[in-house]
Amino acid sequence: MRFLAVIGALVLGRLAALGRLMRFAGETLSHLVRPPFYGREIGFALLNVGYFSLPVVGLTALFTGGALALQIYAGGARFSAEAVVPQIVAIGMVRELGPVLVGLMIAARVTSSIAAEIATMKVTEQIDALVTLSTNPMKYLTMPRVLAGTLVMPVLVGIGDVIGIFGGYLVATRSLGFNGATYLRNTVDFLEPLDIMSSLTKGAVFGFIATLMGCYYGMRSDRGAMGVGRATKGSVVAAAVVILAANFVLTEAFFSA
């Protein structure tokens, strides 16, 4: 019986946490339609989440696309299907690896920095100071970051998809003996609008999750340096897990018919 009580308490605790997160998300969204809007903050967030993430996204996609081409070639060779490299690289990058890897890299780069920054502001009473200066911290800190994440991630994922395919192209044409023009034609012919739609939708959802988790954990940080550390760690773990779970749900929604 004790065992059941422990499980029960755990489940109730999780549900309460989920409820808090949902309320936080709802409040964030409500600020999207309630002025004033802090344009400068939104601009900075767009730069930070989007532009400065480009190098990380590009390198991740390039190496992954290249490795994918090698694996598909080696695997395909077992039943003499080496020729499918362009098609499978394209579908693998665009449908799954592009959005997921970019999402995880953003969780590492952006979620962590948002959580640490907001948690530090909380710990040093800067959030309290914002309130006393008649500025709503959810509107001033959370909304710009979440909006920027949701808007800019589809762009990052699109760029990641293209660079990933290019990585596959490089490996295929340089060391696997593919013809460049044929490779590209096969890629373009094979991809369907739905593949691209799903990729960009995943991007928007993952961007929302990554930035929301950073803000949520930051705002709920405990006091002291330990509090900031815990908030940062918690935010990245939560963002990564929720992104992977959401990816499964979205893949199911888009492609299992």
């Binding site: 004033p36 802090y38 502001m121 040093t124 009473e125 800067q126 309290d128 100071a129 914002l130 309130v131 006393t132 200066l133 008649s134 500025t135």
Partner: protein, 248 residues
Amino acid sequence: MIELRDVHKTFGSNQVLRGVNLTIPSGQNTVVIGGSGTGKSVLLKCILGLVTPDQGVITVDGTKVTEAPRDAFLSRFGMLFQGGALFDSLPVWQNVAFRLLRGPLKRPRDEAKEIAIAKLRRVGLSPDVAERLPAELSGGMQKRVSLARAIAAEPEIIFFDEPTTGLDPIMSGVINDLIREIVTEMGVTAMTITHDMTSVRAIADRVAMLHGGKIRWTGPLSEMDAATDPYVDQFIHGRAQGPIETLR
């Protein structure tokens, strides 16, 4: 006038406020003294609604703080936080002019900057710190920037949480004069927290001592020295012996 009636606040198992009753009259400076960790900062935050009391009622000019419209309510206040609480992503002048750059009190940028520089001068800082980031300043300078921010929008009610802690004696004197000036000239209602008895004598109209989660003694400054309460006596004379435990 600010009134606190039977205010209680507990964090986990830590009972910080256990029934605070206090009246802060308008146009005067009420100084709250008490050992560190007795809940003085928490008391200020309760009035501002940054901390929600577990029990009790707080009113400002007869309106319960929980029922007042938030924006209008907060725009009457200025607050100097104990740790400064400057926004470290913004240069000093934008910290000082924060309220003047956005929201209902928004002004043109140039004008806001001019006001910020004037306020910085009032707290003894030269205009060249305006463009610096808070992290580039010493602790005492940060405190003064924070003080400038608290007075920038000329609020009716100002809370100073340890305004002179960490300042040298001369700068403390400057800040004490400034606080005195703000209260007498501008008719501001102020509540100041301090440990510094020199400062108490320089700036207080009324004194309240917080101990054990309650207001132990309150009265005009002129009666403080004659107070027979042993806690007040020990505190204002800084004696190691007395009813206040030194092991905390």
